[in-house]
């Protein structure tokens, strides 16, 4: 009786150990805390967002220059007077240092999100339209494609940041429905003009996004000395 009991206990023990389904707590990468779910730290997110915005701005500058060269090679000369071709946005630009200090993180994040969401569609259209040009430099095509993908990625990042910093729930991913003037090109000149204006105006907004993100990063990380100007 004793022997068999001991034997059964041993066998049961062996069998059970094979079927052990133990749920161990999850280690978060790069963090010491163990939790049920991990999130990337805000500093890291901001760093990545700033890097995105810087690259997007730089590429938009390059795109504009390449577009200019292409226009020159076509013999066209589009003079864009300042401020007339870019559509007015819902995002006012703070003009003075004191204004900048007054704006809140919430305002910054929402502004960047609005800007990013606004430009995604036009950039996709421009990229499609560029492919139909003659003698378009391939670098311009790759650049514009890169910009649209990274801009979408940045938009995702801003949403995550809003969730982390502001604690707001997931926002509706569809941006404001804009009356997209899907225009069927009446003339080549009009198409070119429209494409150029998209690139030109996006460049300005890319710079705005970059600046706002840098400001936000500065505020989050180093709260005391934050002055951009």
């Amino acid at each position: 009786m004793k022997k068999t009991t001991v034997l059964q206990v041993c066998v049961a023990f062996v069998l059970c150990s094979m079927w052990a389904v133990a749920g161990s707590p999850v280690d978060c990468p790069g963090q010491d805390t163990e939790g049920t779910s991990c999130t990337i730290s805000i500093e890291k997110l901001l760093e990545r967002a700033v890097q995105h915005a810087e690259l997007i701005y730089r590429f938009s500058e390059d795109s504009k220059l390449m577009f200019d060269e292409m226009l020159i090679s076509y013999g066209m000369n589009l003079h864009i007077p300042e401020g007339t071709m870019c559509a007015p946005k819902t995002v006012p630009v703070p003009l003075s240092k004191s204004e900048i200090q007054e704006i809140s993180d919430k305002w910054i994040l929402h502004s960047i999100l609005i800007l990013a969401q606004f430009w995604i569609d036009p950039l996709v259209e421009v990229q499609a339209s560029l492919e139909s040009y003659e003698n378009v430099p391939s670098a311009l095509l790759t650049r514009s494609k890169w910009i649209s993908t990274k801009l979408m990625s940045l938009e995702q990042g801003i949403i995550v940041l809003i969730r982390q910093i502001l604690g707001e729930g997931s926002l509706a991913l569809e941006g404001p429905e804009q009356t997209s003037d899907r225009f069927v090109s009446s003339s080549i000149l009009e198409t070119v003009r429209r494409d150029y204006s998209v690139i030109y105006c996006f460049r300005k907004d890319a710079h705005k996004m970059q600046t706002f993100l840098k400001l936000l990063k500065c505020r989050q990380i180093d709260k005391e000395n934050c002055s951009l100007f």
């Binding site: 009786m1 068999t4 034997l7 059964q8 066998v11 049961a12 062996v14 069998l15 094979m18 389904v21 161990s24 999850v26 280690d27 978060c28 990468p29 790069g30 779910s37 991990c38 999130t39 990337i40 890291k44 997110l45 990545r48 690259l55 730089r58 590429f59 890169w146 993908t149 990625s153 995702q156 990042g157 995550v160 940041l161």
Partner: protein, 493 residues
Amino acid sequence: MWRDAEQALTLMWLLSWTSHSVCHSPPGRPRLTRCRSPEKETFTCWWEPGSTGGLATSYQLYYRKESSLEVFECPDYHKAGNNSCYFDKQHTSIWIIYNITVVASNALGKAYSESVEVDVMDIVQPHPLETVNVTFVQTTNSPYFLVQWQPPHDADTRSGWVTIKYEVRLKIENSGDKEDSSWESYSAGEQLEFSIYSPQPGASYVVQVRCKLDHGLWSEWSPSAFIQVPDNMPDTQNAVMIIAVTLTVIIFLLTAGALTVKMKPMKHFLLPPVPEPKIYGLDTQLLKSGKSEEIFSALITPGYPQIVQSSDRQVEYLVVSNYDEEMDFDGKAHLEDPKGENRPTDTAQKVSQNSIKISLNSSQVLNTTLSKNDHSGTVSNELSVLGEPQQLLHLKCNGSPVKAQDQNTQMSSSSNCEHVSINTAGLTEYVEVDEDQKPLVREDYSMVSDIISDNILVLQDSIPVEGHKEVKCDKTSEPLGYLETLTTFSSES
């Protein structure tokens, strides 16, 4: 009965235990081995299956995005091979952490792996480099290896999205019995080639390269590249060196020999003597002996400059007279008083006008100061002569009570002397003229009785002049070469 039951139970346990490994059973737990992102835009995860349990087992990978509860399945199981899951660009986000689980399932059950949290930026590891070329470059004095490679495919290094860093390592490959030397690593930055200098001649090297993106993980080492350094030509270099050294030694010996041998022409040829300065007329021996007058006398060539030697002339300008028959002069005074005091006439003084005119042949201007001091009835006029050192000033006196005293020179005049010479050795001299007499000519020229030539006035003198004083007079043998002196004294007689 109990025994039978126990035995049956034991048998059943044993059977189930053995059937666990041999017969069909639910699958064992898989395990996620690693996840990698080669370019920060996509990533792949691999797992290791557990035991299959004898039945056909399928694996699924599920993931969750951060804190949301929605579960997604792997988008691509095949691109990266067996037991892998590939996340393409649309499914890769650098903003969130993925919570990944692999499930193994068969007919009998399921097994869940441990969950792994993945942050895409933390698992960045580029593909290993595929081609590495090494060439041996033979320049004249410094041979080197040139290692070249291509960037890893997929990585978008040119846009700035990632910054890539390379590392090169090499070691000597010893085919013999010696133990392998250790690797030497060099950081190559972002460039696609690298030079390694001073290879050992005759050795055979192994070279490898690897890369890293941002702060991610190093890639695997590239396939090795081999290179053999030829045993080359230090010989020609050595020969040149030896010849050069020998030539230098020979030249040195020749020069030393030539110098030690006291052959004057040879010595002069090798070390020409420094030419000494030669001034015509100046004998350096005289300089050494130290007699200054003789030296300068040698400098003076006859005929230069024009010297007024006649003493008569000089007498003309010196008015010293105690007696009636003596003539009184009244000379003009050319005084350049540096102090701005010009005292051409002073009727209160005995000496009406003491004029001294000294001119030099050279361009030097003699500044003469004439100051009058009243010393108990005597008038002493100091004449300081500034300018070039005058060695000799000739003044002639004619029995005048003029006593000239010179600080630096010896100058005196006597009534009878014919020469009043001033030997000057310094820059300034004072010619002190003592006069007892009253000035001869007052403002009105009523006493003038006669005029001889243009600088001699004959005055009528009714007042006897006090006895003359003895004045010494030095005759100097040689006149001054470059100095012409015209001195006029007027005194009251």
